[in-house]
């Protein structure tokens, strides 16, 4: 017959009681705490996922807005470039016209100066020629020439007077 030591029974009993007590007061709260922790982590992960999703939405919105702004910027830039081209063209045109006006003014001034110069030159030449002619005539005039001048010039003048009067004086 198998003999069982009482102390062993007592130890087994103690062990069972200890296990029950551990299960009741230690294991159960630990499992509950772990479950709670796990749920908390799940919640945090869900929050992170939600936040990530929201951030992705914000990023998409930002990209769309950025694209719109960029398009708007390109439109404005195009308009500005067009305006700048128009202004540039206008400035060039005005500068060209101003240049043409100044050129014409100076051409006209130059033409007037040349005309003035040639008129003065002509007057000088004519004046000098007249003086020379006068001097030569004075040197060559004598009674015979004076006789011919009086006869010739007076004949011409009297004939013109007769034509004007349209009648010959009848002595």
């Amino acid at each position: 017959m198998i003999s069982i030591d009482r102390s062993i029974i007592f130890q087994i009993t103690n062990f069972i009681v200890l296990v029950m007590l551990l299960f009741r007061f230690l294991f159960k709260p630990v499992v509950q705490a772990l479950d709670k922790r796990s749920n908390h982590i799940q919640d945090e992960l869900a929050k992170i996922e939600k936040t990530k999703s929201e951030a992705e939405e914000v990023r998409k919105n930002y990209e769309e807005e950025s694209k719109k702004i960029h398009e708007k910027y390109q439109e404005i830039l195009e308009l500005v470039n067009q305006d700048a081209a128009k202004i540039k063209s206008k400035i060039i045109d005005e500068a060209y016209q101003e240049g043409e006006r100044i050129k014409k003014t100076y051409e006209e001034k130059a033409r007037l100066e040349i005309e003035k110069f040639f008129t003065e030159l002509k007057m000088d030449i004519v004046g000098i020629s007249t003086e020379i002619a006068e001097k030569i005539l004075k040197e060559h005039i004598d009674v015979t020439v004076q006789d011919e001048l009086i006869d010739h010039l007076l004949e011409k003048a009297v004939s013109q007077i007769e034509v004007k009067l349209d009648v010959k004086y009848d002595q």
Partner: protein, 79 residues
């Protein structure tokens, strides 16, 4: 009744000769009565040549000075 005699003034560059006086009388006789006219002579060397006759309201300029001036003016006008 006596008629007033017409004065005919002759301006020449140097003193006139009888031949010149006769020539003047001959030409003027075509436009005025020279038989009863009184002729006056004046010397103006600036005329160069020819004669200027002032006969009543008529002013007959046949001087070389005026001829030269006319030529000068016509040349300048043509410019």
């Amino acid at each position: 009744m006596t008629s007033k005699k017409e004065i005919i003034k002759m301006i020449v560059p140097f003193p006139m000769t009888d031949h010149q006086r006769t020539t003047v009388r001959h030409h003027l006789s075509r436009i005025t009565d020279v038989t009863n006219a009184v002729f006056q002579e004046e010397v103006d060397p600036t005329l160069i040549g020819g004669i200027i006759i002032i006969c009543g309201e008529k002013y007959i300029d046949c001087s070389l000075k005026t001829q030269l001036l006319k030529i000068r003016e016509s040349i300048l006008k043509e410019g």
